[in-house]
């Protein structure tokens, strides 16, 4: 890979990360706007969760991963500890694959 690509990607990514907090420090944000910004993050996280849980690239990922995430979701909803949620999701997907279910 060319070094130019790495340097440009690093600089651009840092600029994207720096811009958000920097912009927020320059403007006075009302409570209503603050709520929109939080909801924007919630929408992005939901999109990341949805696509990561169901898709591999642009195709359906198979049963094992969504099943693992679903088990994690139920445990999280039942307010079980975070560690339990994460481990249960991983173990479910791993066991299903071990059983030959992709």
């Amino acid at each position: 890979m060319s070094w130019i690509a790495i340097v440009a990607l690093a600089a651009g990514t840092y600029a994207l990360r720096f811009a958000g907090p920097a912009l927020r420090s320059r403007i006075t944000v009302s409570e209503a706007v603050k709520r929109y910004l939080t909801l924007a993050a919630v929408a992005l996280l939901a999109a990341l969760i949805g696509t990561a849980a169901l898709l591999d690239g642009t195709e359906f990922v198979g049963v094992a991963r969504p099943a693992g995430v679903a088990v994690g979701a139920v445990l999280a909803w039942r307010k079980l500890p975070f560690v339990v949620v994460v481990v249960a999701a991983a173990v479910t997907a791993a066991l299903l694959r071990l059983a030959g279910i992709q």
Binding site: R17, G20, L45, I49, G68, A90
Partner: protein, 226 residues
Amino acid sequence: MVRDVGALCAAAVVVGLSFGAIATAAGLPLSQIVVMSAFVYAGGAQFLAVGLVSAGGTALAIILAGLLLNARHLPFGLAVGNETLGGSRWRRVVGSHILTDESVAFALAQDDPARRRRAYWLTGTALFVTWNISSTVGAIVGSTLGDPNRYGIDAAFPAALLALTLPSLKDKIAVRVAVTGAAVALVATPFLPAGLPVLLALLGLAFALPVPSSRTRTTAASGEES
């Protein structure tokens, strides 16, 4: 909180090892792998870049695809805000770099500003150290653990983000915004380059806009006519 972050780091180790091994297999020298993990520091964009290198992609394609995938960091940064990063200049400079999906999700899951700041810095720093060490080790010795999917790590990350996002779904509006966002991203993914579908999820925010009353609508319409 430390135990929770530890669980996430354990999962990140397996992914980091795998990244190092895959990047080496794609022909990247150790120096580039180390610099990428330290300065780009974005798992998704790093895997994408290595994939494009293997497919013979140009430098420009790698830069544009990576930046598009990382564009979500801007709205994430707006949501987290400078209070979470901390007051001093170096805290903002360093704190911006450790902004990831996970550090944002951990911060937003907390109620008060002090806990929010602690969660952000703890997650951000721990994941940065974990990612850099594991990807370097993976590049040198290869991934002795093999494919992360074998251990269900691919299910662990979305489940972790889900657990961290659930507390934010306090009311109907938040639930609608989240469900619409996820649905839009899923529908758009087959048609758009990686990164864009997730950004389109912001359309879900329409559900949070104040509904204009019929009176303001009439005023706006007559205003346009004149």
